[in-house]
């Protein structure tokens, strides 16, 4: 399962290396997905922000890119505790 990471982490940002841009023939359009790991406690499910899947929809090519020099982790919590506890309070 993958998600749009920006939906959950609005300030997610990274720089694609020239090599990756070249390999994926990226000009303008680019789709970014994060691979989800569903935790046995679903509220603790995580997404992989260190190695997003980058897709060039125009050329139909994509790959999992490992970001260099970032503090992002493979297991970033999708929801903050507040978000999930608010839900449970319904």
């Amino acid at each position: 399962m993958v998600v749009n990471p920006f939906e959950f982490k609005q300030d997610y940002s990274f720089e694609l290396s020239e090599e990756d841009k070249e390999e994926l023939k990226i000009e303008e359009d680019v789709a970014v997905y994060s691979i989800v790991t569903i935790h046995s406690d679903v509220t603790k499910s995580t997404m992989n922000l260190l190695a997003p899947v980058i897709i060039n929809p125009a050329h139909r090519v994509g790959k999992q890119v490992v970001l260099q020099q970032t503090g992002y982790m493979t297991k970033h919590l999708i929801w903050t505790e507040e978000a999930t506890s608010a839900k449970e309070g319904v």
């Binding site: 090599e19 992989n48 260190l50 490992v66």
Partner: protein
């Protein structure tokens, strides 16, 4: 495993176009320089292993967890509106 001794500044060549150079040695830390063609991906092994592990875990969620995940997602999205 091939084992070689190298001094600071010396290097090894792998398959014509990958060069690994020992830049510095300080205590138990070795600084290594790698020159390789652009299409060769190079990672610290622990980073590589953690990504492999995360991918493996992501690939095997059981159906009830997926259902629970979707339910939570919808609940949170509805709350936002």
């Amino acid at each position: 495993m091939l084992v070689l001794s190298r001094k600071k500044g010396e290097s090894i060549i792998i398959q014509d176009n990958i060069e690994v150079t020992v830049l510095a040695v300080e205590g138990d830390t070795v600084r290594i320089g790698i020159s390789a063609p652009k299409h060769i991906d190079i990672f610290r092994k622990e980073v590589y292993a953690s990504i492999q592990e995360a991918n493996r875990e992501s690939a095997k969620p059981d159906a009830p967890s997926v259902a629970a995940f979707m339910e939570l997602l919808q609940g949170i999205e509805n709350k936002k509106k």
